[in-house]
């Protein structure tokens, strides 16, 4: 059980929200949107790798 992944994703979420606030205060709305998008993409890549592992394991266990 790798709980580090959950903490990593939560960290990405908190960091992107901080970036969002800072860039908004600096008047760079478009950059704040791109930063949020990049955070979501990075977290999504990490989750998708875990999802692929899960699907492979289900395939092996249940003879799918």
């Amino acid at each position: 059980m790798n709980i580090e992944l959950i903490f990593q994703i939560a960290g990405i979420g908190i960091l992107t929200s901080i970036f969002h606030i800072v860039l908004k205060q600096a008047g760079k709305e478009e950059y704040s949107f791109i930063a949020t998008l990049a955070g979501v993409a990075i977290a999504l890549i990490m989750v998708v790798q875990l999802l692929a592992e899960l699907l492979n394991q289900v395939k092996g266990v249940f003879f799918l």
Partner: protein, 128 residues
């Protein structure tokens, strides 16, 4: 006791998701998805032992292995579909969740059809 680990991971994921949700809703969905994946992977590693015992029992009772694999496939489809549907429902996409469940039901029915046909044939053979 591993149940404490499971409950701890679940509670940690829930707290983190709630904390992140108000600032970043997509990441909160991803956190709950990752928590569910970790817990599901752990449960699946335990299910493997149960299934090996089950298949040994089936081979001792001379049950056709085809029926056992069909039942196991249906179980796998049900688990995966339930997982995906719950994640979609958590993300607020109830209609997608309903469609996932619908597709899973159809797939289960397709897998169960040969067993139903075998049952029908044995019933017909019993009838005079």
């Amino acid at each position: 006791m591993e149940i404490f680990q499971v409950v701890g991971i679940g509670l940690t994921g829930a707290v983190l998701a709630v904390y992140v949700k108000e600032s970043n809703r997509e990441i909160a969905v991803l956190i709950s998805l990752a928590t569910g994946l970790v817990l599901f992977l752990y449960a699946l590693s335990q299910v493997g032992a149960v299934i090996s015992v089950l298949s040994e029992l089936a081979s001792r009772a001379n049950i056709n292995i085809f029926y056992l694999t069909t039942v196991l496939k249906i179980m796998g489809i049900a688990y995966i579909a339930e997982f995906g549907a719950q994640i979609c429902r958590d993300a607020g996409e109830g209609s997608t969740a309903t469609k996932i469940e619908f597709a899973a039901k159809i797939l289960v029915m397709v897998l169960a059809l040969p067993i139903i046909m075998a049952l029908m044939e044995s019933v017909l053979r019993l009838l005079p």
